[in-house]
């Protein structure tokens, strides 16, 4: 490109560079917003299908697909206020920081060879470390609202984190032991011989269960349990802030399903008659629908059940999975 724009040329170069377009368009911000809204619609449709209902219908020519965009517009025009005696700074900061964290997760995922915003060596631990912050934000939101239901929801998020966090990390350790790397793109490349869903079946199961618990979706949606504590930590959020509190849930669903595809389902690997991006998105969509079906099938667990299952069953299975992986990688001990 010839420098015809004078002093504006560096700005134009920056705006049209591939990295900037990846950040803004795909897999970056614009696609995250659109996919998050579409996932909200898909979840309502899938749940309605399971429960023999119809779901969103009117807001477009094709099955109410614009329903979430209509909700978005409605929520953004609602009055914004902060409840009395609440800590306004943290009350506003917690959900907006949650949005940023959700978008940061997607930036670590390799969607195709080279199509990845941040290809870092410690991609997998970085993903799990970023996600570790979200219960803290929920506790902050619940505390700052100075209301009973949000406070109970925030404390539930804190206790729930102790139940799933260690099995989540230990099940991810199995994949790291198999691949010998923490780089997500290299983990995908290591699966050319066979997907890790077979040797890591136990680890994949634990990872799926604990990541559903981490996303606070049914059957583990204790912090927002709308039939018990009235949406929990989200109860006091008005208008746009409610949108900011709800949005990270769908972005996390998208990011975790993509991570599950990368770790266990071979990521962007697939037959070469279709682009690798297609295979990646197809696997992600399958995992998303699986998690939505879990939501519409199982009832909610109690907090003590979740703590006991996390600390006994899931932790034991995760350590067993590490043992199995050790034997697969190193081989049987020869005495």
């Amino acid at each position: 490109m010839a420098p015809v724009l004078g002093p504006l040329q560096p700005i134009v170069d920056m705006l049209t560079s591939p990295l900037f377009l990846e950040i803004v368009l795909f897999p970056g911000l614009l696609s995250i917003a659109i996919i998050g809204a579409l996932l909200g619609w898909l979840e309502r449709k899938v749940t309605a299908r399971v429960q023999l209902r119809i779901g969103p219908l009117y807001a477009s020519p094709a099955g109410g697909i614009l329903q979430m965009f209509a909700d978005l517009i409605k929520l953004s025009f609602k009055e914004l206020f902060v409840p009395e005696n609440s800590d306004a700074f943290f009350f506003i900061m917690a959900p907006t920081t949650g949005l940023v964290l959700g978008a940061a997760l997607v930036g670590l995922i390799p969607f195709a060879p080279g199509l990845q915003i941040a290809n870092i060596e410690v991609g997998l631990p970085a993903f799990l470390a970023i996600i570790t912050l979200s219960p803290t934000l929920i506790l902050l939101a619940g505390w700052s609202a100075n209301s009973k239901f949000p406070f109970i929801g925030g404390l539930r998020a804190l206790f729930q984190q102790t139940a799933y966090e260690i099995p989540l990390w230990l099940s991810a350790l199995g994949v790291i032991m198999m691949a010998g790397t923490m780089n997500l793109a290299q983990i995908v490349d290591a699966q050319t011989g066979g997907w890790y869903i077979l040797p890591q079946a136990l680890g994949a199961f634990i990872f799926l269960v604990t990541s559903v618990a981490e996303m606070e979706r049914l059957p583990f949606d204790l912090p927002e349990a709308e039939s018990e504590i009235m949406m929990g930590w989200q109860a006091e959020y008005p208008g746009v802030l409610f949108l900011a509190a709800q949005g990270p849930g769908f972005v996390k669903l998208y990011a975790f399903s993509a991570l599950f595809s990368v770790m266990y389902l071979g990521g962007f690997l697939g037959p070469s008659f279709l682009p690798s991006l297609f295979w990646m998105l197809l696997k992600t969509l399958i995992v998303i629908v699986l998690i939505m079906l879990l939501r519409s099938t199982f009832p909610r667990v109690r907090l003590d059940q979740l703590l006991r299952a996390g600390w006994t069953t899931l932790l034991t299975l995760a350590i067993l999975n590490i043992g199995i992986t050790y034997l697969l990688v190193v081989g049987l001990p020869t005495l």
């Binding site: 609440s86 109970i152 260690i166 350790l173």
Partner: protein, 123 residues
Amino acid sequence: MVAQGIPEIGSYIAFLFVSTVALVIILRLFVSPRDPRPTPEKKKPFESGQIAAGPGRTRFIIQYYPYLLMFVVYDVIAMFLFAWGLNLRALGASGSIPVLVFIVVLLIPLGYALHLANHRENW
């Protein structure tokens, strides 16, 4: 890459779109009048239609507090295993013996701590 197939003008439109949405949210958050029609009921905390009673940050039974303590200890310890798992092929069976002993040694106090944590009236 997908990005290279997009015409130049498209990226500007997308950038304008994203920044407009972000600007609208920011304006809604910070610039617009915070509370145009204040009423005392509007800002009360939500308690299912009842008048809010008592402090918002109520007492909460911390019967699961032992799990928090165990989490603080074992979440850090689990990170040590990542250094071993990453270099498992290089270490081999002989290099892994200390780590396996480490795991077994950790499991014994974990079992005892779980035994204590299940006695929930002892907190």
